[in-house]
Amino acid sequence: MKLLTSNFLKCSVKACDNSNENFPLRYDANCQLQQDESIDCNPEFLINILERVDWNALVQVASDLGNKSLPPQKPELSPGDDLTDDDLAIIRDMHSLLIQTSIVEGQMSCRNCGHVYYIKNGIPNLLLPPHLA
C-alpha cells in the first residue's frame, strides 16, 4: 500500500468512531518499505492530492515508520500557475514519499482499541473478526 493510502485509513470498529484516536492508525516500526522509482511524477495530480492530505496524520505515520524529517506544517506552493524551482522540489519530495513509497509487509493498530491489522504482500486487511464486526 502506498504511503498516501495511510492518510485514508481508519479503524474499522464502529465504536472507535466516537474517539479521535481511530485515525491515523499506528504503524509498526518494523514495517517493510519499498520504493518504486518507476512511477512517474505528475505535478498537477500531486498538487491536487497534496491539498487533500491531512498533514498531521501524514507526519505521524511517517514518524511511526522512522521518518522524522517532515516539517510540522504542510509545505505551501507559491500561488499562481508558474511553479518555481522550490515548488518543483517540494512536489518531487512529496511524490517520492506519498506515491513511490509503499508498505509491503507489516502491521498497524488502532490507537483507541488496539486492534491489529496486517499488511501482507502490499495488501492491508481491514476486515474485522466476527466478534468485532
Binding site: 485509513l9 474499522s12 518504486d36 500531486l46 491536487n48 492530492i49 487533500r52 495488501i123 486487511n125 481491514l126
Partner: protein, 269 residues
C-alpha cells in the same frame, strides 16, 4: 441470519471462484468509464466491491482506493497491477473517515446483500464517505433482462441463486460396447442360438448399468464445479427507491448491460 447467508452464498463463493471469475472481468462498462473520466485531475474516490480492480486503472489521473471482502479477488487485482490501491474490507464497515471522497463507485455489489435493510444500509454507508458535493455511481443487476440468455423478466422472483460453473465441463464420455465375442466351445450346437442371445442381453444390461453409473458420477462432478451466488434482482425504479431510503438524492438513473444504475449524492442538509 443475513450475515450467514451472505457468507455462504457470496463471500465464500467469490473466494472460491476468484481466479476464474477474474478472467471474465476486464472490460469496463461505458457509463462507468465515463463517470470516472469526467472526474477532475487529482480527484480522490473509492470503489466499493472492486473485485479484480477493473475500474482502478481507467483514469490514471485519479486516486482511487478499491476495497473488497474477497481476499482472493483483491489478490487478483494486485497481480493484475501492483500499483492499484486495494485493501480487504467489508462494504458495511469501510475503513475511511466520513465526508472524505469526491466520488464513489460500487458496481454490481449492492445486489449481494440479502435483505432490503442491508442494501439500503450499504448505500447509506457509501454516501457517508462522500464530501457534500460528492457523487456515487451504483449498479445493480436488473430483473428486466429481456435481451439476455438468462431471460429474467418482470414478475419473477427477485431473490435468486445464480450458478457459477467453475471449470468448463469435460465432453460427455459414454461406455462403448466391447466387440461381441462369445466363447461357444462346450455349448451344444442346438443351444448356441439361445446362449448367444442371453449373453447379449446380459451384456446390454451391464452396459446400461455402467452408463448410468458414469452419468451419475458426471452429475456429481458437475455439481462440485458449480457454486451459487445470491442476487437480489432489481426491478425498474427499485434502485432509486433504495437510494432515497438511504438518504440520497438521485441525480441520474439508467440501464446498461442488464443492470440498473443510479448516480446519487447525499441529500443536502
Amino acid at each position: 441470519m443475513a450475515e450467514l447467508k451472505e457468507q455462504e452464498y457470496v463471500h465464500r463463493v467469490y473466494d472460491e471462484i476468484a481466479p476464474h471469475f477474474s478472467e471474465t472481468r476486464y472490460k469496463p462498462w461505458p457509463v462507468v468509464a465515463n463517470f470516472l473520466n469526467s472526474q477532475p485531475m487529482g480527484a480522490i474516490g473509492i470503489d466499493v466491491g472492486c473485485g479484480n480492480g477493473k475500474y482502478l486503472g481507467v483514469n490514471p489521473n485519479l486516486f482511487i482506493i478499491g476495497s473488497d471482502r474477497s481476499s482472493g479477488l483483491i489478490q487478483c487485482a494486485n497481480e493484475i497491477n501492483s500499483r492499484y490501491n486495494v485493501l480487504i474490507a467489508d462494504g458495511l464497515q469501510l475503513p475511511h473517515k466520513d465526508g472524505t471522497f469526491d466520488f464513489a463507485i460500487s458496481i454490481a455489489v449492492v445486489h449481494h446483500w440479502t435483505t432490503r435493510e442491508r442494501r439500503i444500509a450499504a448505500i447509506a454507508h457509501i454516501l457517508t464517505k462522500l464530501r457534500p458535493e460528492g457523487q456515487a455511481l451504483i449498479y445493480c443487476w436488473a430483473l428486466e433482462q429481456n435481451e439476455s440468455r438468462r431471460g429474467y423478466h418482470e414478475g419473477m422472483e427477485q431473490d435468486v441463486l445464480i450458478p457459477w460453473v467453475l471449470k468448463p465441463k469435460k465432453p460427455t464420455k459414454s461406455v462403448k460396447a466391447a466387440p461381441e465375442k462369445v466363447d461357444l466351445s462346450g455349448i451344444p450346437l442346438h443351444e448356441r442360438a439361445q446362449y448367444v442371445s442371453e449373453m447379449k442381453k446380459k451384456r446390454r444390461q451391464e452396459l446400461r448399468k455402467e452408463q448410468e453409473e458414469l452419468e451419475q458420477q458426471q452429475q456429481r462432478e458437475a455439481s462440485q464445479d458449480t457454486r451459487y451466488r445470491f442476487y437480489h434482482l432489481y426491478r425498474r425504479g427499485e434502485l432509486e427507491e433504495d437510494c432515497k431510503a438511504a438518504g440520497g438524492t438521485v441525480i441520474g438513473t439508467g440501464y446498461e448491460r442488464d443492470n440498473w444504475y443510479a448516480i446519487v449524492k447525499s441529500a443536502t442538509k
